[in-house]
Each structure stands twice: as C-alpha cells, then as structure tokens.
Amino acid sequence: MESKYLIEIAYIIASTLFIFGLKGLSHPKSARNGMNLAAMGMLVAVVGTLLHHEIVSYTWIIVGLLVGSLIGSVMALKVSMNALPQRQAISLAFGALAATLVGVAEYMRGGAELGSFKMTALGFEVLFGSITIAGSLVAFAKLQELIRGTPLTFKGQNIFNIALFTFTIGIFISLIFSPGNEIMFYVMIGLAFLFGLLLVLPIGAADMPVVMSLMNSYAGLASAATGFALNNNVLIIAGTLDGFSGFILSILMCKAMNRSMTNVLFGAFGGASEEQQAIEGVQREVGIDDVAVQLAYARQVVIIPGYGLATAQAQHTVRELAEALEHRGVIVKYAIHPVAGRMPGHMNVLLAEANVPYSSLYELEQINPEMGATDVSIVIGANDVVNPDARDNPKSPIAGMPIIEVDKSKQVIVLKRGKGRGFSGIENPLFFKPNTGMLYGDAKASLAKLVQAVQQA
C-alpha cells in the first residue's frame, strides 16, 4: 500500500517540474534550465512508476527503455535542423502509438466489465491516438516528400469524411453502452485511422504548420485520456498541457493566415489552381553584381526567409552575407512570418543554428513599421507571406492574411528556384513590381556569390 503513496508523491513532483519547465520557455535565457527541470520530472515519474505493485517483471521494461532510448537519442542527434518538421511529425506518431497501445491493452484486460466512464476515457484515448498516428504519418510522408505535397482530393470528400466521422462516433457511443463488443472496438480504431489519413491527405504542404500543431494537440489529448482511463493525474496534467499547447499554436497559425480552422482542414487549400488571373507585366531579372552593389551601399537590409531557405540549407550562407554587410556598417534584420516554414518557429531555429543572434530576429508586427525605411528586402524562398495581394486584393485566395510588407521597401530582391508559381499556386504580383528584382537559381549558390561580390564591392 505504501508504494502507492510514494508513486503519487513522485507524480506530484513530476507535474510541478513539468509546469516549471514549460514556464521556463517564456524566455530563451531560462529555457534550458526549465527543460532540465522537466527532464528531471520525467525521471522522477518513471522511477516512481517502477514501484507500481502490478509490475511483476522488469526484463521487458528494461529492454523497451534501452531500445527506445537508443533510437530516440540517435534520431535526435542525427536529424538536421532543416528536417525538424519531419522529426516532429514522426515523434507525434510515436507518442500517439504508445497511448493507443496502452488503451488497447487496457481494453483487452477489462472487456465487457469496463464501466461506462472507463470505456469513454479509453474510447477517446484510442480515437485521438489513431487519428494522430495516421495524420502524423501522412504529414511525415508529405514533409519527407515520400508523397506529393499537393493536396489529394476526390469528389464528395468532405461529405465522405463527415459521414465517416459521424459513423465512428456512433460506434463509440454504442461501445459506451455495451463495452463487450470487441469487434466494434477494433472497427472503431480502424475507422479513426482512416479518418486521420483522409483528414491530412487533402491538406497542402504549405499548411503543415497548422496540421503539425493540431496533431500535437490530439497527441496530448490522447495522453490526457489515458490519464482518465488509468486514473493517473500526472498523465492528465502532462497530456492537457501538451494538448493545449498544440491547440493554442494551431489558433495562432490560423490567425497568421487569416483562415478558420475549418477552412484549413476542409478547404484543400492550394489545390488545382482555379480561374486565376494571369498578371500582366514582366519579371525583371537582376544580376549578382547589381544586387551586391545595392546591398553594400544600403543603410538597412531586411531578410525574409521562407521554407526555400530550409530546402536549400542556406541558413549559414545567409549569415555570411549578413556578416559581410554588417562589416560594412549595414544594419541587417530578419523578418520572420509566423507561418514561414513547415512548423511554428522553424525559421528561428534554423537561423539560430547559423549563429544569428535572436536579437536580430523580428516578428511581423515589429518589422512592418520599419519596412518603409528599409533600402533592400531580400526574400529567400518565401512567397505567400510577402504577397501584397493578401492585403490589396479581396478576391485573392489568401486575402486578409497578414504579410510582411516588403513591397514598401525601396528595393526588393527575390531569390527563387524558378519562374513557376511556387507551392501554393497563387500568383504573386510582388514579382512583377518595378522595384522587384528576381534572382533565379539555388538560393545557397546565389547567396554564396553575393557574399563574394559584397566583399569585393
């Protein structure tokens, strides 16, 4: 009996440490200490759990812990910062898998004897769990480019999805009244998995920040539901914190695109381009030397990174360019749009990796008032987040989305791989403005040439 209280004390300590840990993330200075506290909390919780009276054999536990630690640390140490979104997606799937399997095992144990409360909790656990597994795996496949990033749609998709969802919930409700119906339990898991697949397949890669946050939220809720099922408070607390974090992030991401959650989830955004007006005008191509001179004699330069920076792995070269400019007395700032990249905050991490001090990273609201006083903006692999149509054209698919107003700066240089419309398929009038110069080609190569040219200018 005593071990029970020891475990509860361990869980209280763990919960407190988790909360302090997340609180530390309110500032980069306190973040590392905070995470150490959280990791300690995890250790306390695990050691406490090992005292559980139901545990009779430790062999498999030790094997599992060792294998998991090995895979986990190798993955975490080997993954490049450019591939963070993929890693996050796959680890969401792992987390959800753990919750789902525990749910299934609990169900096998309880079966028909499960009370309606426990059945409800288990139901939520496996539902959120299997939706997250499927959704995260699709997100992973899209990010890793195993499948096409463009939305996959078919006719009547939304109606089919809603029907599928309703049917799954129907089974869930029937299970609460007759938990003994084993086949239905597994059918429900299968349908939820299918729903997860169909939910994320139609979502374009550019909307991945929302999907990632949402899956984050579901994975957390699955853990919280596990806590309800096992009557375990530390699970409820940690799961809820995770769930809410994901939820808040998804709302922030939606706001940053001026779109509702429903629109992101069911809009199949950026699909086959509809009747879009082709923009009149020409894109002006510029040469490295011209750009270098403009940059070298500018007073303030703002760099706007997008996902293209990550794919070109150009963050270090950007830093070199900034360094060369700063050496000449040019003020260099970075403007980060909340949805730049494939997960929230991805650009900040990439630039931090390239030794860019975070004091020169600016958020949308901070940098926009300064754009008028900026001599040159360099857009690197970003498109929608600088599309003036979002502000000017109410008919644009991205109308109302807050943008970084690069078109207000005196000169704009756009680094782009080719002349195509880019990922979302939306025309960008910025590229046709007279003060915009296009620099085609691999961003990293162009930037390297610019560094040399600026040093010689």
Partner: protein, 112 residues
C-alpha cells in the same frame, strides 16, 4: 468507476487546461519549435502507463503491446528532450551581449 474519481479527474483536467493556456501563451514565437518538441517529450509521460502494461504480465499479447508502447514513448521522451536541448543550446549561445565577440572570433578565423 466511482463518480468522485471522475469529478476529481475533471478538476485536474480543468486546472491543467487553464494553467496550460496561461503558460503557453507567454512562450514567444521565437521558441515555438522548441515548445512543440518539449511538450511532445513531456507528453511521452504516457510512458508511465506503458510501463505498467509491459510489466504486469496480464497476457503475452498485452505484454507485447506494452513493450512496443514503452519503446515508442521512450523514443519520444529521450528524443524530445535531447532535441529540445540541441535547439535551445543554439539560442542560448548567442545572448545579445556575447554575439559581437562571437562574430569577431569567426572573422579572425576567416582572416587567418
């Protein structure tokens, strides 16, 4: 299952939700990626559920499920904390006061 357990669980849930909202809204966008990795690691706490399932020897199948769950959750816990630390280290190394020195060092390297 007794109702009072449900009620107390709901209390914990409601308070954690409120607290989560308060804490997470204070995290700056700068740290959103580390935040996602960190909360992912913390929600790997479902490990404690998996541990009991893996060690309880209810049935072979449930042990197998438990062990897979332990592996998956441990990957998240260990991987999540490790990668969060990797990211945060990069942020911390360049506190504004250190950064000029930092870049000077770099330049010296280049000149030599």
């Amino acid at each position: 299952m007794k109702t009072d357990i449900l009620i107390s669980s709901l209390y914990v849930f409601a308070l954690a939700a409120f607290l989560g909202y308060q804490i997470i809204s204070r995290v700056p966008p700068l740290l959103h990626t580390p935040l996602m990795a960190a909360t992912n690691a913390i929600s790997g706490i479902s490990l404690v559920g998996s541990l009991v399932t893996a060690g309880a020897e209810h049935s072979t199948l449930s042990t197998i499920l438990g062990v897979i769950a332990v592996i998956a959750a441990t990957i998240n816990v260990v991987g999540g904390f490790t990668i969060t630390e990797r990211m945060l280290k990069m942020f911390q190394d360049k506190l504004p006061s250190d950064s000029p020195k930092d870049s000077k060092d770099k330049k010296e390297e280049k000149h030599s």
